[in-house]
Symmetry: C2
Subunit: 193 residues, 2 copies
DNA sequence: ATAGTAATCGGAACAGGATTCCGTTTATCC
DNA sequence: GGATAAACGGAATCCTGTTCCGATTACTAT
């Protein structure tokens, strides 16, 4: 809703809309090469705008990161119920879903690191990821526990944070395979016996 | 060797030795309250010296952190073989040793985070921790694998990095229990079947 | 079409931290 | 006690992030 006209929102100016799009593209490109903590000035330069324009559109870096990756996070969130419906074993569905999440994180240079940062500026990023993905994870955990495949005392938030942490620094380092370690962690959730 | 006199090293001046000690104490105190990434100026102020004095004694922050925690890291390294000798099951010894490591990390505010940082300035810190602890971990892993208690394809470096990552952000957050997650990870190493 | 208006813009100014430089101090040796 | 070079402190520099302000430009009403 509130996309074409709206009542209260006075519709943004055309140049502002254009700049927002340009900034998203520039940020995405810079994130790929320099990571999500690239200097603000670099992103502004790449977009051909002044630094203040970034702050006007995205008050904190978290807002910019969220905007850049929103689609992929949504896709990941929606994949949870789909996997649960499509795969026979809830435990297998959980494993598959976690792999999707891990793949997403390790391909976004530095994202896992800022995701766990306790810097106040990243509060919105924290909140978004957690609000969107923790419930999905909790649903998968409940299903697997109900099926007796894993222990029932696993907290979704804790697991998500653990998996996120395991993904830190996993980009382009052949000696560290986050996927493998996460698989061990998930294996460790199985019922003892 | 080369502690009291030596041949090539011209023995440091007395005030320099005193400052180095003072700096170590000041850094240790500041690390406890503000974490290992505390501003250099704070440490200098606490020690009552100029900032350049820090750089003269410890060229990078990594050197300072290593010096502050060297004793505890050595103790952890030496605990490995001791546990292996004292505990009947190598797998149990591994678990106990990992717990020592985790306890060390989570009580040093922010240490786990810089430990995994790929910032060039922390290269020495990386190298020291890895050189000192990975061989110990490898020995424990070999013993447990030889006893048939865990799979034999676990790399010590990878495991250490995984455990270190799980400890990031674990200080004073009741909703995140790094010890518990590490326990799951170690449990996941058991032989399948 | 045009003048008025307010949203938006760009880059300079400011702030905070790390790192380096240099004139001064001081321990050591003779 | 004086010469010498190591060590010192703090100012200067550099690099980011963030805010401010005069200039610009899209929209609106006539």
């Amino acid at each position: 809703m509130n996309d074409g006209d709206g009542g209260a929102a006075p519709r943004k100016r055309a140049d502002a809309q254009r700049n927002e799009r340009t900034l998203l593209d520039a940020a995405a490109a810079v994130f790929v090469t320099s990571g999500v903590e690239a200097p603000v000035r670099d992103i502004a330069a790449r977009a051909g705008v002044g630094v203040a324009t970034i702050y006007r559109h995205f008050p904190t870096r978290a807002d910019l990161i969220i905007a850049v990756y929103r689609h992929q996070v949504e896709a990941c969130a929606e994949a949870g119920p789909a996997l649960l419906a499509a795969v026979a074993s809830p435990y297998a569905a959980l494993g598959r879903w976690i792999n999707l999440f891990v793949d997403f994180l390790v391909t976004k240079h530095g994202l896992a690191a800022v995701l766990r940062s306790d810097d106040a500026g990243f509060h919105a990023l924290h909140a978004y990821f957690l609000d969107r993905l923790v419930p999905v994870c909790a649903q998968l955990l409940r299903a697997a526990a109900a099926a007796g495949e894993i222990r029932s005392d696993v907290d979704a938030l804790e697991l998500m944070r653990g998996v996120g942490n395991l993904c830190i620094g996993a980009e382009n380092d052949p000696r560290y395979d986050a996927r493998r370690l996460v698989a061990f962690l998930i294996a460790g959730l199985r019922q003892p016996g």
